[in-house]
């Protein structure tokens, strides 16, 4: 009896082992091969499965090198969603917005102009009515026509579902209606936020009504939207754990207007580390890398890779790294101290050492070079600051901060010791190096600041809950309006949790009113905007509520072994050499159109 049970248990174990072996076939799991028998049994219960299996016939098994563009630097995880309304995870499917879904307008950061895309033309017929005329002959990739109805439907979704990011627009928008097949009319309440609206014109992806009208609320807000149908230049082809593949839409309406993008296939590669991407560029396996590669300056100098600028900073500027100061704590509540700190921080070393010259120091206003029209040079000349330890010491002394106990660090005017921490998320190596320099240069000037790197989650909790001393942040994306930056810097009202801006809780009604007023200036009234932005800058540079330090680069290095025609500083109409999510409508797509294959000898 006992023998038998031993034998039995052995049998059980052995069969388990076999089961384990057979249920887990090695090699390729993620992408089920388009096997012949699969379509038969597939469509029962698996709406979440890979949208791979049906058109087995026309899925190519190989992408010819001279028709394929290999890119990396946007995706950091496997693709998980193709829903153009979903925040967060879309970076892993960069191109969903841009390749597949398009916008009414595009924005050219080099000229600062909104350029019509799906729209042919758009105009304010009066202060509260905006009319967009669509181009003729717009089509979806499934052959249906793209009409004004689709546009109105898309905007209307924001009215219906407040979990969509653009729904707050409906606080001041009254209707979006299709007047004819090609004309959409937007009407507004008497208090429209013109700046936000203009920004939304090139950020709201237009979706096809004939597909989205039947979707449930859940599908629209949180669905993965596999097999996206859009109107754009590329279509979804396939994806795997480490890549997304897109194929050119040869029936794209824009070929007559903008031209045909040269690469037939785009393979967006997820690399697990930046150094792998570098290796691949050097081997010519990767055409464009948008990873941050420290030391790429040297490689560019030696001609191994190409970059936008031939010399420093090599990269275009993408956003501003701002040091937020917690103004609810001592001594950051004192403008005198904040200003002294602004002089104490050694920005040149951050640029030259932490970044090895790959970034440029920020204008004290924090506005990107592409928004330099709105930076008031007279104000900057009068009130601006730059790295100067002696000046910092002087300002500290003037404000009453002196070293009482002789430890080399100043004490507050009330005699209390000052011990501060500057933070950034752990693992963000460039920022970690930068805050080390912030801390050491502040110590030079006599301010006791130490650097610390909490995990991202902990950092985020401190940031939003306002329990940090000072920390870095760069959440204002490249934009057509300075309002985007000011909406980050001076977000209000001040609440317990500041989730999307003004993390230092700087409280100034005067500034808030100015930002609100700026939001209400029509986007084409440049002078009206300038009048307000220079007032904001004057207050900002006097009070120094936060300190803009440098511009994070639009990391971009490419190999010209297979494709040429990349944009650089000498291009007549330079576009952005980037594949990052959110930049396709800022010229990323035009970059693809300008590419040319290298002739094969």
């Amino acid at each position: 009896m006992k023998r038998l049970s031993v034998v039995l248990s052995i049998l059980v174990v052995v069969s388990m082992l076999f089961a384990a072996c057979t249920t887990a076939p090695p090699e390729e799991p993620a992408v089920e091969e388009p096997a012949v028998e699969e379509p038969v049994e597939e469509p029962v219960e698996e709406p979440m499965e890979e949208p791979m299996e049906e058109p087995a016939a026309d899925i190519p098994t190989e992408y010819p090198r001279n028709e394929t563009l290999y890119v990396s630097g946007a995706a950091w995880g496997p693709a998980s969603t193709w829903n153009p309304f979903q925040p967060g995870s879309l970076a892993n499917t960069t191109g969903t917005i841009g390749y597949v879904y398009e916008f009414l307008y595009a924005f050219d950061p080099q000229t600062g102009e909104l350029t019509p895309w799906l729209a042919e033309d758009g105009a304010w017929t009066d202060d509260f009515t905006f009319e967009v005329t669509l181009r003729e002959g717009l089509t979806w990739s499934d052959g249906e026509a793209l009409t004004a109805e689709d546009v109105a439907f898309t905007f209307e979704l924001g009215n219906q579902y407040e979990a969509l990011w653009f729904s707050p627009m409906w606080r001041y928008m009254e209707s979006a209606t299709a007047v004819s097949d090609t004309v959409v009319q937007f009407t507004f309440t008497d208090d429209p936020l013109y700046q936000e609206f203009s920004n939304n014109l090139y950020n709201i992806p237009i979706v096809p009504e004939h597909i989205w009208a039947d979707k449930s609320e859940e599908d629209i807000t949180v669905g993965a939207n596999e097999e996206p149908v859009g109107s754009g230049a590329y279509m979804y082809l396939t994806n795997a754990e480490d890549r997304n593949v897109w194929v050119r839409n040869d029936a794209w309406w824009g070929q007559d207007v903008f031209g045909t993008p040269a690469p037939k296939y785009i393979v967006d590669i997820r690399t697990s580390s930046n150094s792998v991407a570098l290796g691949m560029v050097l081997k010519g396996e990767l055409d464009l890398s948008n990873n941050f590669l420290p030391g790429v300056a040297e490689l560019a100098e030696k001609g191994y890779v190409s970059t936008y600028f031939e010399g420093p900073p090599y990269m275009l500027s993408a956003n501003t790294a701002v040091l937020f100061l917690n103004t609810t704590q001592q001594p950051m509540d004192d403008a005198g101290f904040r200003k002294a700190l602004a002089f104490a921080i050694d920005v040149p070393s951050i640029v030259n050492i932490a970044y090895a010259q790959l970034v440029a120091a920020s204008n004290p206003t924090g506005l990107l070079p592409s928004l330099s029209d709105f930076s008031d040079q007279a104000v900057v000349d009068e009130l601006g600051y730059s790295f100067d330890t002696e000046q910092a010491k002087q300002l500290l002394a003037d404000a009453g901060y002196v070293d009482l106990d002789g430890d080399g660090f100043v004490e507050a005017p009330d005699g209390s010791t000052i011990e501060l921490q500057v933070t950034c998320p752990n693992g963000w190596t460039d920022w970690m190096a930068a805050i080390d320099i912030i801390a050491s240069s502040a110590q030079e000037a006599g301010i006791n600041i130490q650097s610390s790197y909490p995990d991202y989650g902990a950092w985020n909790t401190e940031l939003q809950g306002g329990t940090f001393n000072m920390t870095l942040n760069n959440w204002a994306a490249m934009s057509n309006t300075p309002w985007t930056l000011y909406n980050l810097l001076f977000r209000h009202p001040i609440q317990d949790q500041m989730q999307s801006g003004n993390f230092g809780r700087y409280d100034s009604q005067e500034l808030f009113d100015l930002v609100d007023a700026l939001a209400r200036v029509p986007a084409d009234d440049i002078e009206g905007m300038q009048a307000i932005t220079s007032q904001i800058q004057e207050l900002m540079l006097t009070e120094v509520p936060m300190i803009p330090l440098w511009y994070n680069g639009m990391w971009s290095q490419w190999s010209e072994s297979t494709w040429t025609g990349w944009p650089d500083e000498t291009s007549a109409t330079p576009t952005l050499p980037t594949t990052w999510s959110g930049y396709w409508q800022l010229g990323g797509l035009l970059t693809l159109i300008n590419l040319e294959p290298v002739a094969v000898e």
């Binding site: 090695p26 992408y63 496997p78 990011w165 697990s272 081997k283 991202y456 989650g457």
Partner: protein, 330 residues
Amino acid sequence: MKRYFGRKLLIYLLTFFLAVTIDWMIPRFMPGDPVSNMLTRTSVNSNAYEVMYDYYSHVFGLDVPVWQQYLNFWASLFRGDLGISTYLFPTPVTEVLLRAVPYDIALLVPAILVGWYAGNKFGAFAARSKWLDNTISPLGYILTATPYMWLGILLAWFLGIVVGIFPIAGAYSFSLAPSFSWKFIGSVLHHWFLPFVSLLLVEFGGWAIGMRNLIIYELEADYSKYLQSLGATNKLIRNYAFNNAVLPQITGLALKLGVIVAGALVTEVVFSYPGIGYLLLQAIQNQDYFLIQGCFLFIIIGVLLANFIIDILYIIVDPRTRRGMMGEAS
């Protein structure tokens, strides 16, 4: 026998319950908030943050009291529902695991098994053999003591870039779509080779050294001396020593196989090879409660299963255990 397994089963169930509870608790004790991490990864100039925050908290069931979240967790676990990943939203955790883990199995199982087998054989062979001990054993020490990261980078750099005969990234050529062709299968093997070899080298070194030391210990044991004095052949003595020395190695092997669901993080990073290790790291950094829970759930199951198998295997391979149990049962 029945009592033995009954008791074991009870202990396993209790361990499972406790371990899964801890697994549920730990991510929630970490500072941070998955929904806010998920939303801040977007740079949309969003005035909708607060509304979206509430909406997504509800989607993930994080808007109810903690005790209720805990009960809901067990309830959905019994339905086989591990939740939805926040880091890879909106992919269900089960799907994330199903897509990523096979890559790790393909790398780790052969590397561990081959490394174990060859390492043990070699270790046993090398022990007490002067010239091997002096030449190849130091190599084993070097291999195990080498930081794996460094070894991997060295391999990738030398064979991938300098010599250029192996790819440095991906599970198969980026110019191929999966198909049943020799070209594709060849590409898969080509990409698999370097990560596999790097793991194998380290595994081999570790097992070989362990076995060598164990054998030396066994050869010093009384029974070996006794056998020797009886005039038994070296081969016989070594066989006995091997049988005894292999026991702890079996335990080690089972435990290693049990934690495969944790992936091979460093291999995945160095060779840019897909797998769950990298995703688990990202999940931890993003407070992705559900993906962390899911991964660790399988690690717990894996370890318990491995232990269970060891218990049974010992009955087979170790007569002492078997006899003890029979005696106890009769």
